[in-house]
Amino acid sequence: MEIRTDQFKELSRKALTNTLLRQRLGQIGSRFSLGRALAFSQLSDPEALRLKANSIKKSTLERLDYYLEHLESKVIEAGGKVHWAGDAGDALRIVCEIAQKNGVRSIVKGKSMMSEEIGLNEVLIGQGIDTFETDLGEFIIQLAGEPPSHIVGPALHKTKADVADLFAEKLGIERVEDPEELTMIARQTLRKRFLDADMGISGVNFAIAETGTIVLFENEGNIRLSTTLPRIHVAIMGIEKVIPTLEDLVVMMKLLARSATGQKLSSYVSMITGPRRSGEWDGAEEFHLVILDNGRSRILKDQDLRETLYCIRCGSCLNICPVYHQIGGHSYGWVYSGPIGSILTPQLIDPERARDLPFISTLCGACAEVCPVKINIPKVLLRLRSKLAEDPQWMARPHRAERAVMGLIGLFLESPSVYRIGSRLARIIQIPFKKGDRLKKLPPPFREWSEGQSPYPFAKRRFLDK
């Protein structure tokens, strides 16, 4: 997916003027967060469950190489094939080769953030292979040519009127606005695609090392169809998706749907182990698992940042984040939005381009309170901020103006006499900028600061002189 993280200021400014979007984000946020709270309150010990999930993720990542190797051997034992991809280019090459080798002409896809990350659809379509998104939200944004705005509901930034217009235009049908009718139109359109497709592509929510099983959660049934009808199934996973055992899966199953939407369990959870067995009609003849690194092994190295990889992509941090509610998913400029986007994106792409992302936060900590695997997102944000400011490997260009100002402030605060003179001077210098009881339109480098804040002017008489 195209990276637009360096346009954060523009994108967020635009989002802030979109009242409808902000209303919708508020609705989504409260609906899902309330649902989540209710679902968790019905568990006998939700905190213990979260601690267990955190500990599973921690210990798995500590021995990730071993679990990946074991996963591979079990998938192969079950008759599947395993491919390893270092980066997006490798993954794209692998999927294209599988498609070409098998004469694939059309593909149906379940929702997969990983496939967005590597830009899979464009490449496949470029190869002349019809590639259809089948999740209703993804289907809508594919038609619209837009990126997803929310992990769980990618098209929630669109009104039913938007969707009605879109379907009428792109599908050549009579315009209807009723959500049920629109959904049935999508169902009809996609039915044929499922039946004709040569290959189904999915992501992976969890991969169980003990059994060589991939686990897929959904509500619509499109992932089941994509993995049941076509003769080839390709599942793409990040290295961090592996968990050790069935017992560990049970913990995750109790947490994921409750965290994402407040459901006890998603409508469908599929546990797929290799291709179909002899005698079965349904299911793929060939099962391919693509294990992709794409920068994740680097995140493993730093023990303070490693918990970024615990994420199970539930979206509960988005649903509760007050900043996300105002600026929406597109402002984060890439696949991952909300608090998880703020910590994951700068570690996966060039931090220079994503330098604004760790600052999209008031550090209120709501995300950490809801995260089912207890990622301490504020802590990671602070660590990223300090890396961006100080770590020579991270610093793209030093923020000269900020350093100069900090240096100047240091001078003033070190010496009482300099401070006294300085504060008297400041009261004079500020005069042209006083508008009413605030300072506005300060000269650069303070310009942006005064646009976002409304700083108070220095008082006529200092407190110390009273």
Partner: protein
């Protein structure tokens, strides 16, 4: 296409370099592997006995919980005491929905209920499912099946288990018990017996562990079905039956 960063090389290519990068990042080079240990068979059996006892004791509670959960998901739940009642139930669903073609599992419970003869008497066509073999004839039949199943108005199956605390149906795919039965037709009817009801996921786990221990692996596809297919992708409006079934019926034969 490589996403370049200033922080060092992005790992390219094969298995060894990726695993090597992971090992180095973790400082794991040369460390001994962790163990995969399933509980001992005796322990699993003991737990399964415990669960069977609990289910017996709490049967009425569990059935009530199941009923509440299924209805909350907009499904319909029927608790019948005889094969005759079960057949009547099915017959009224078929008539009410005007079904002309059905697809069904090959399953002892459906056989015991004589579903085939019931469907025949109602003049409802049944899509045959024969075990698939690798020859061309079977493959052709498979493709034909795929085209035909779209016309089926109803899918009839049994279950492997149901989970009372969430109203979840657990189905294992195998020859004669196809995944599409509970997925493609707009209505899904699942028959179950009382001893297939479990309280929840924790009680299901030892069954899966037992299967893993005895067979060495799991079925090709184990599916958890909790209510009909649903979406809220358009303005958060809840719509049922997007891609999977819109209606779901559970018929508990408790005789």
């Amino acid at each position: 296409m490589t996403i370049s960063t200033k922080k060092g090389l992005v790992v390219k290519g094969n298995r060894e370099s990726i695993l090597g990068a992971v090992k180095r990042a973790l400082g794991n080079v040369g460390a001994a592997p962790p163990e995969f240990v399933l509980p001992e068979s005796e322990k699993i059996s003991a737990r399964l006995e415990e669960i069977a006892e609990e289910v017996q004791k709490r049967k009425v509670d569990l059935v009530q919980s199941l009923s509440v959960e299924v209805e909350a998901l907009t499904g319909k739940f029927f608790w019948v005491n005889s094969k005759k009642e079960a057949r009547n139930c099915l017959e009224s669903i078929m008539k009410e929905k005007g079904i002309s073609m059905a697809v069904k599992w090959n399953h002892p419970l459906l056989d015991a209920l004589e579903v085939d003869s019931l469907l025949e008497s109602l003049e409802i066509k049944v899509l045959p499912i024969h075990p698939m073999t690798n020859d061309q004839k079977a493959k052709k039949k498979g493709l034909q099946f795929r085209k035909e199943i779209e016309k089926a108005g109803i899918g009839l199956s049994s279950v492997d288990f149901v989970l009372a605390d969430s109203g979840t149906i657990v189905v294992n795919a195998c020859a004669g018990r196809e995944r599409s039965t509970s997925l493609v037709p707009p209505i899904h009817v699942a028959f179950l017996k009382a001893d297939q009801i479990l309280p929840g996921l924790d009680e299901l786990l030892p069954f899966l562990q037992k299967e893993l221990k005895e067979k060495g692996d799991l079925a090709s596809c184990l599916t958890f079905i909790t209510g009909p297919s649903r979406t809220a992708d358009i303005e958060l409006t809840l719509i049922l039956g997007v891609h999977g079934p819109k209606e779901i019926y559970l018929i508990l034969l408790d005789d």
